[in-house]
Symmetry: C2
Subunit: 199 residues, 2 copies
């Protein structure tokens, strides 16, 4: 996790006060060793909850999702942003609002891959306003399964997604929490602030 | 690889004589342990060629791609089917014809992630008519890099993609080669036939 923060500082690019570009190691070019290390951290954090399935969303959730699934030795399912062509099956669907693109998108997972027995760990690369993670939680609950928690690689803590997820009753584990991207600088939420907030 | 063939027989669904559905372990729900084992096979096969980068295409190429990259300890880049929103950089682009969807699609990779020094291993989940793999090879060569070879999880050998790739000078390594999907049955290319073809 310290390695992740170090790479964010060294290789991330602050495009403006809302956008951090990490396409050289997270979501276009990907560092597989870092991904696996992060997957192990998520797995260790949530292992006690007897996760049966990792659920994520294409495309940039797939790498952290499958590495977490590898560490837990459970299957990983990714939600699709487009409907599959060979559509002869029941789908779980919901809509997700994208603040970046300012549009509603439908996401879906085949119903046969999640059921009431499942205890699901949701994984995604970014947490901003929380819409994607909430959508994945909705799909999981539509199937009657339990959401064990939500694992996020990079949380933009200034955009309020965590509050939305915690208010909805979900545990959120982020590997890097960014407090601000102002002045072209990445400022992380300090551990001390985290401890104070917990008191 | 025997495990892959076994899973294809046990869990794959032959929809018609052209379409094999493997969405329960390869391209919607994914088996991470199988993916990693397959990644190791690709890595071992191509390791001697000093691969510096794995290149694949979203979304279903990402899992086998990053597992191969993990086994080789090199970065993995996935080509995008849509242009990124934060478009302030040079892109390598080419068009890929989809026989399934009967349309041309543009795919792209940021130029900064492949250069002349790179020796690229291309990975994808399916080989049918070879269009996607050829497109990835084109992007690689646009960047001045070398294509070390192409690793495919499932080859539909009856659709001619291999010949196109071999004629273009690329080595193709497929983990499962399917000779026919007629009569709702998966028939693999036999090793003996492979040896005879090589004489």
């Amino acid at each position: 996790v310290d390695l992740l923060k170090e790479m964010i500082v060294r290789k991330g690019k602050v495009l403006n006060s809302n956008v951090l570009k990490v396409d050289s190691f997270i979501n276009h070019q990907m560092d597989p060793v870092l991904m696996y290390e992060m997957g192990k951290v998520f797995a260790d954090h949530f292992r006690k909850q007897n996760i049966t399935k990792v659920v994520t969303i294409e495309s940039s959730g797939i790498a952290p999702g499958i590495m977490t699934a590898l560490a837990l030795k459970v299957p990983c399912v990714f939600a699709r942003k487009k409907k599959p062509l060979t559509l002869n099956e029941e789908l779980l669907t919901t809509t997700v609002y994208s603040f970046t693109k300012k549009e509603e998108n439908e996401i879906s997972i085949s119903q046969k891959f999640i059921d009431e027995q499942d205890c699901v760990l949701i994984i995604d690369d970014f947490l901003a306003h929380g819409e994607a993670a909430l959508g994945l939680a909705k799909l999981t609950e539509q199937a009657g399964a339990t959401v064990a928690g939500i694992g996020i690689v990079i949380e933009k803590a200034f955009q309020g997604g965590r509050k939305k997820l915690v208010d909805a009753g979900y545990e959120v584990k982020s590997l890097a929490r960014i407090k601000s991207l102002s002045n072209s600088t990445v400022e992380f939420v300090e551990e001390l602030e985290l401890e104070e907030a917990a008191i």
